[in-house]
Each structure stands twice: as C-alpha cells, then as structure tokens.
C-alpha cells in the first residue's frame, strides 16, 4: 500500500482530506523505478476546480501512455493544509505517488486565469523550489507553463523555466524525448533549455530573451540572446482532432467537484470572432471532431467512468455541425438509463431550444443569453453577431416552451461605451419581460418571469482586436454599474429584474496581469509575500495587498492596466505567433471603433491568418 505524505492526524483535521489522497478511479500508478521521466501536472487552484479542467486530463492521459513517463497531479492545498505544510515544513507532494514535487523532472502548471498567479508561487514555495527560475540549479524540476495565460507569459516569465505555447497534443512527445536523451547524456539544465527553445517549436524559454525599454516605459526591443533561438515562437495547433489523443479513462473523483461529469470535447476554436474573446482568436481555426468519433467516445466514457452526467465541451456549441444528431444520439442511447447531458454556451435560437427541450423534459431551469452589450451599436463594436430581434425571438420561444427564468450577461467598460449603452441594458431586460407578458397568457402564468442581469467589467486580453483598448478605475467601473442599476429601477418591469455586478478591484488587477510585462513579476512576488493567495476567492481576496505591493515595488499599476496602447507600440506578447496576424487584429480594432461587423468564418473568410495552419474550417471553406 502507498505511504501517504500526510499523517492521519493531519488528514483528519483538514477539510475534505480526499483532496490530497489520489486513489480516484482511473488514476494512474506506475513503478517509480521503471520510468525515466516524472511529470507533476498542476492546476494552481483547489482540487475541485483543478479536477474539473479537461486540459490536464488530456495531458495526463497522453503522458501516461508513454511507458517511460509517469504523470501525476498536484493542486493548490487549501488554506488549512497550506498552513500545516508551512508550519511543519512538509514538502508539497503529488497525489499518486505522494512523493515530493521537488524530486520530479517536470512541474507543469496550467494557467487558466490571471488571478491564479500567486497560487503558482504558493505551489513553488510549498514544493521548496526557488520562485525565480534563475535561482534553480540542476536538482530542481523544470517548471513549464501552458494554457491561455501563456499567450502573455511575460508577467510570470521569471517564475518559469519554459512555456509551451499552444495545444499540448502537438510537441510534448518531442520535448519529453529530447529531455530523456539529454538527461541520459548528462547534459545540463541550461543545455536542455537552449536545445528545447531552438529545436522544439512552440517552446519559449524566457531566460534566453532580453527586453529593453524606452524612456516612456514601453518596450524598445525584445530579442533572443542565444544564437539558434527563434525570435518568434509559433503556437502549436492540432491539425486533426479526430486523430489527436483523447482521454477515455477520465478521473472519477470521490468528492463533488465543480464540473462533476465526464467531458466530451466536440470542437476546438470558434467561428464567431467576438472581438473581446481571447479563446476565439488563440484557438483558431475552428476544428470539429466527427460525429461518429464522438459517439464512440461517449460510449467508452460511460463504460470507463460510470459517470451519470456528461457535458459537451466547446466554445459556442450550437455552431457544431452535428449538434442535433449528437444530442439525439445521447438522449436515445443513455436517456433511459437516467444519464444526463449538459450543453455549454448555446445560442438561444429555435435549434438550441429544440435540443434543450429534448434534454430537460419537464424541467425548465435557467435560460442564459449573453448579449454582452445592451445596444445594437455596442454589440456591433464587439462583433457579437446577435441582434435584438434574435434575442427577443429566442426569449419568446423559450417562454412559450415553459421557461420563465432568464439570465442575461453583459460587459461594462467596453471601448466606445456611453451611458446610453448602459441604459440600453435595462431597456433590453424590460423588453424581455414584456415579451413574457405578451407571450404567456395570464391563466398560464405562474407569477412574474424572473430576469437576472449580470454584468462583469471588460478586461482587454492579449491577441484580441481589443488588446489596445483602455481600462477604467474601480470607481469608474462602479459608476457604470450604478447607471445600469438606475436604468433598471426606471423601467416598467423593474420588479421582474434582478441585477448583479462583478467585483471592480479584481477586474483591474486582472487587466494589470493580463497585459503586463516582465516588470510585473516583482509586484506578484511582493503581493505573495504580503499574503496574497487564492485571489479569485472571496474568502481570501484583498486588493489592498496588491496596492501595497505596487507601492513597495514602485510599479505603476495603471500604466499596464488602464492605458490605451498605440498601434505602433511593441506589445509584450508580440513575439508569439498565433497564426492570426497583428494586421488582422489592427483591422478589427479599427472596424470595432467604427462599429462595423465582420462576418463569421462560415459566412466568409476574413483572412485572419489562421488559414496558414491548413486545417478545420479554413480548409473546408477554401475547397
């Protein structure tokens, strides 16, 4: 039997000890003496959040198919265990072997959102790994980052030995082969880093690049310092999802996790081109898995996991060509067994409602619309190809179908936004309430309809057409929200409408970390020293630590967070080549300011540059 890293007493005194045991169904165990590479895969948040992430399951499965590699998992210990590990100097360990992370060959950290950066430091710190890559000697694991935040890795570049830019399925084998060969040949850490950066596409080694700055604080130059290391790092893209590895033995946790179900990824990328959406740009081109393959995957997952709950994973899932057939297959095959299916991000139209009616039978939960902006003009600015008529038609149809709870998502602080656009949010919510009263006869009504308006504040992200846009101060954001609130209070159906808005401080911090450069690392380190951790959690969130960290380090948060960038500025992430060109993004930024809509990839190719990968929708459309 495995020896656990924690004593009975520790495990019995923390909340949810199952977070730290491993042992879940489909966890992989190997003989540590018979593998060459030990890989610790980390999601720097609590177990329930980290376990819900598909990307880790894909890599976990893929790495463990290699006989020479044992990939294990590690998540952020929750605050109770964090304290115990520090007090008793117990090193952080991997769930499967319960061995210290420090003894691994690799520590891979997936970066899904900016507010996890202090948790990255927590993981390194608890593992006993120096926080700065430059202070790590041969004995420490290679710390490698990946995931959406690695598309601007610069604020955390100092903490990582390397980043993998792109989709994990493509060059990880090449990287691990190289590591194994160089380790066997007795090569040094530095030699491996240089070889990986020069030979393996998509690998970015921050220590091999030098940045210089202009007097105004913007970047003057960004260039490799070692011959052979490429000036531009090309994002890695899976050409054919059908032949890419997919985990059919997904982990089944003991405790309930955030997304407690088996996951079937139906497509990657999105045809829509919403201008605020990073995923919509970095995962271009849109690629689908075939219907036949998905049916096979579903069957295998049911058999291997015993889950009674499934979710399809995708951006804008109603755009998947065979969505209806897939849902029908699922409902016909597994419905009688009581297995349920969740669909993410559906557009509310008749097709989706038809699909949802099949899924839910009599139950009518929340129906979610994401118009993102209140007025048509502003929706055109962000290229959210959704008209008011489409929204109202969808709502009417939903009300006729028996739904009465509607959730509406909007963003505030978008470029060109005016108070009129904010009032338009209240107006749209009111029109939906009117549609309810018109559509549902009095005798069939069961009280009022229930409309929840939620607003978050827009954060410009790297590699989006809005990457140059300004942000606002927390107090300005709150005044935007109060305009919406006043608007809702002034409409006829105000009693049917609820309003919720997102934290403003956290938004500004997110903006700072999303568009920052290498000089932000000092702030992150200082905030961590001041106690910042789990910044995405209300329990622990404290903006004052970050303000203090900026003060202590002399870094001006507004320079990175709030400033509108000029088109000729070198952006910290310009060295990454995602396929989509900067000139396309500039064109889109210009069209945004003119409120001109760009057609989606299925309607017309707009020449974004992703066609260079020669796959997915780009291939289909060019034929």
């Amino acid at each position: 039997m495995r020896k656990l890293a924690l004593s009975d007493e520790v495990l019995l005194s923390v909340q949810k000890p199952a977070r730290y045991l491993g042992n879940e169904a489909n966890a992989v165990y190997k003989d540590r003496g018979k593998v060459d590479i030990r890989f610790a895969m980390c999601f720097p948040d609590v177990y329930e959040v980290g376990m819900s992430h598909l990307g880790i399951q894909i890599l976990y499965d893929m790495f463990n198919r290699r006989e020479d590699t044992w990939c294990e998992r590690v998540y952020s210990p929750w605050l109770d265990l964090d304290k115990i590990l520090r007090d008793r100097k117990i090193p952080l360990f991997a769930l499967e072997s319960q061995d210290p992370i420090r003894d691994f060959d690799f520590l891979g950290i997936t970066l899904q959102f900016e507010l996890c950066y202090t948790n990255v430091l927590q993981i390194l710190d608890l593992s006993g790994i120096p926080l700065r890559a430059s202070e790590r000697d041969e004995s420490f694991p290679i710390v490698i980052g990946g995931g959406p935040c690695s598309y601007n890795p610069e604020p955390i570049a100092e903490f990582f030995d390397m980043f993998y830019i792109g989709e994990g399925e493509v060059v990880y084998d090449q990287l691990l082969d190289l590591y194994k060969a160089m380790k066997a040949a007795g090569k040094s850490r530095r030699e491996f880093l240089v070889a990986a950066a020069s030979q393996v596409p998509g690998i970015y080694v921050p220590s091999l690049y030098e940045v210089t700055y202009k007097e105004d604080g913007t970047i003057a130059s960004f260039a490799p310092t070692v011959p052979g290391v490429p000036a531009r790092v090309v994002k890695q893209t899976v050409r054919d999802l059908d032949t890419a590895p997919y985990p059919l033995h997904q982990l089944v946790p003991f405790i309930q996790i955030t997304q407690d179900r088996a996951v079937v990824e139906i497509q990657r990328g999105c045809i829509r081109g919403c201008r605020f959406c990073q995923a919509g740009m970095i995962y271009r081109p849109n690629r689908e898995r075939s219907f036949e393959r998905l049916c096979r995957y579903t069957d295998a997952l049911i058999e291997n996991t015993g889950f009674d709950n499934f979710t399809l994973s995708s951006l804008s899932s109603s755009d998947y060509t065979c969505i209806k057939e897939l849902v029908e297959y699922f409902v016909d095959t597994y419905g009688p067994r009581g297995t349920s299916l969740q669909l993410p991000s559906l557009r509310v139209d008749s097709l989706s409602l038809d699909v949802m009616t099949k899924l839910h039978d009599a139950r009518r939960g929340n129906l979610t619309f994401a118009p993102e902006a209140g007025s048509q003009r502003l929706r055109d600015v962000i290229n959210k190809g959704l008209t008011e008529e489409e929204i109202l038609d969808g709502a009417r149809e939903a009300f006729r179908g028996g739904w009465k709870k509607v959730k509406l998502y909007f963003m505030l602080g978008l470029p060109t936004e005016t108070p009129e656009d904010r009032f338009a949010i209240a107006d749209l919510a009111n029109k939906i309430a009117v549609a309810y009263f018109q559509e549902v006869p009095k005798e069939k009504r069961n009280g009022r309809c229930d409309i929840t308006v939620s607003t978050s504040f827009f954060v410009p992200k790297a590699f989006t057409p809005l990457q140059w846009a300004p942000m606002y101060t927390p107090s300005e954001y709150l005044s935007f929200a109060s305009t919406v609130y006043d608007g809702i209070q002034s409409v006829l159906n105000r009693r049917s409408i609820w309003y919720k808005y997102h934290e403003a401080d956290g938004t500004v911090l997110e903006g700072f970390l999303a568009r920052g450069d290498r000089r932000c690392a000092e702030v992150i380190l200082e905030a961590y020293r001041l106690g910042a951790m789990y910044d995405a959690w209300i329990e622990t969130w404290d903006y004052s630590r970050w303000l203090k960290a900026c003060e202590n380090t002399g870094v001006d948060m507004s320079f990175f967070a709030l400033r509108e960038r000029s088109l000729d500025e070198i952006l910290p992430w310009d060295f990454i080549d995602i396929g989509v060109t900067k000139s396309f993004l500039m064109r889109e930024w210009k069209r945004a300011q003119e409120a001109v809509v760009t057609p989606n990839c299925r309607e017309q190719c707009s020449g974004c540059g992703a066609a260079r990968f020669g796959c997915g929708i780009c291939k289909r459309e060019s034929k």
Binding site: R2, D8, S13, A18, A25, A27, Q256, F307, D308
Partner: protein, 233 residues
C-alpha cells in the same frame, strides 16, 4: 432480487466519508455489467442502502451494502467485475442473495458491531487507561447523555456494551449498533476518560470495525450479516 455486497474499507479510503463512498460505489457498479436496479423517480437513483455508515477515520473489515438486481448474476462474476474496479483500500469480500423482505434490509436488521480499538502512535495515555476501562465497563450502569440530531437523550451506556476485552494494546468491543440506538467506540472512550478526569484527545483512537451483526430470532445470539443469504451460482 436483493444482493448484499460485503467489502472492506481501509488505507487511504478511511478518509473518504460515507456520501463520497456511496458516489464511488455507484459509479463503480455502473462500470460493471451488474444489472442493478434504479428507482423510478425523476432523477433515477441506484437502489442502494448501507447497513451502517462508517465515518471518516475508522477502518472496517466488513461493511455491507444492499443493492437490487433486475436479473441475476453469479457471485463469482459480480465479484470479479467489481473487484476490477476497486481502488486501493476497498476490497469486495462477498456478493450474496439475501431475503428481499421490506424489513430485512441490512440497515433495518443490524443490531450490533464488533470493534477493535487502539491508540494511534504518539497518543497512548500516560495514565493507566486499561485499569480505567476495566473498572468503567464493570459498572452496573453508566448514565450518559447522548447527543442526537434532535437534542439530547438520557441512556444507560452500560446496557449498550455487549462485550469487551482488553487484548494487549488493543481493546475488543461489541457495542449496540442499530438505526435507533448506537454507541461508537469513541463515545465509550470519551466517557471513560471523562469519568477519570481526562479528556480524550481528538484523533487519539484508531477504530477498526470487525463486523456488523444481527440478532437471531430469540434475540439471544448475534450472527454476522455476512452469514445471511447465499452465494449466487
């Protein structure tokens, strides 16, 4: 057809609570071909009940779970399939057809539990606890205010101690264990410590449940739940 599955729970599984264990076993059963029955409700749930939930901390050599089958499956085949899907710390020990009567569920008939209890490393008391235990269990009656979900209840703890024996550094106990009346080893030790002016520290005891028992018709002898029913050919 009612089937009683006997299993052991130990090692890392001792930190897994009852609800999580239930989730685990449900998904494990779904990974096999065992034709298990679901209830008719809107959320179809597997018909599954347990003799007596084991909390987080104790280990057990004999837990019992009742499920209903739509069609028979042999004990051998079911055990082999379930066995393939068990994680470290769960062992399937038996799979028997039992009386399907309404009042014959394991949770209804369970009456007593056998335990072995010892102090975890570093928690052995520095006073003569064995003498204390001997004296405590030899008392005529032990008035005890039991805390229940609904409030408190005054009971005689002594009447719930059916048997006890000190075996070197471990203590064997047979205690009352049923839906209505239930005495846990930690509660017995807690009261014993208190009556000598000590406090039982948290996590001091390791409890090992040896078996769960039911009373025979005369109510005089106890039979292991595992001895009921028969293996399915």
């Amino acid at each position: 057809m009612r089937v009683r599955v006997k299993f052991a729970k130990y090692g890392p599984m001792k930190f897994i609570g009852h609800l999580e264990l239930m989730r685990y076993l449900q998904s494990a059963v779904r990974r096999t071909e065992i034709p298990v029955k679901y209830d008719e409700g809107m959320h179809q749930r597997m018909v599954m009940s347990f003799a007596m939930p084991l909390g987080v901390g104790p280990i057990s050599s004999a837990e019992y779970m009742d499920i209903e089958l739509e069609a028979p499956i042999s004990t051998e085949k079911a055990m082999q399939q379930l066995g393939e899907h068990m994680c470290e710390g769960l062992d399937i020990l038996d799979f028997r057809e039992v009386d399907g009567g309404k009042r014959m569920k394991a949770m209804t008939i369970v009456a007593a539990a056998d335990y072995e209890v010892w102090f975890r490393e570093g928690f052995t008391p520095d006073w003569d606890w064995k003498a204390g235990l001997k004296e405590f269990c030899s008392r005529e009656s032990i008035p005890w205010v039991k805390e229940t979900k609904k409030g408190t209840r005054e009971v005689d703890m002594r009447s719930w101690i059916y048997d006890w024996e000190i075996r070197e550094d471990k203590v064997y106990l047979r205690l009352c264990c049923s839906v209505g009346d239930n005495l846990k080893p930690e509660q017995l030790f807690g009261e014993m410590f208190r009556s000598y002016g000590h406090e039982l520290p948290p996590f001091a005891l390791q409890v090992h449940r040896l078996d769960l028992l039911t009373a025979d018709e005369a109510g005089e002898n106890y039979i292991s739940l595992g001895d009921l029913g028969s293996r399915i050919p």
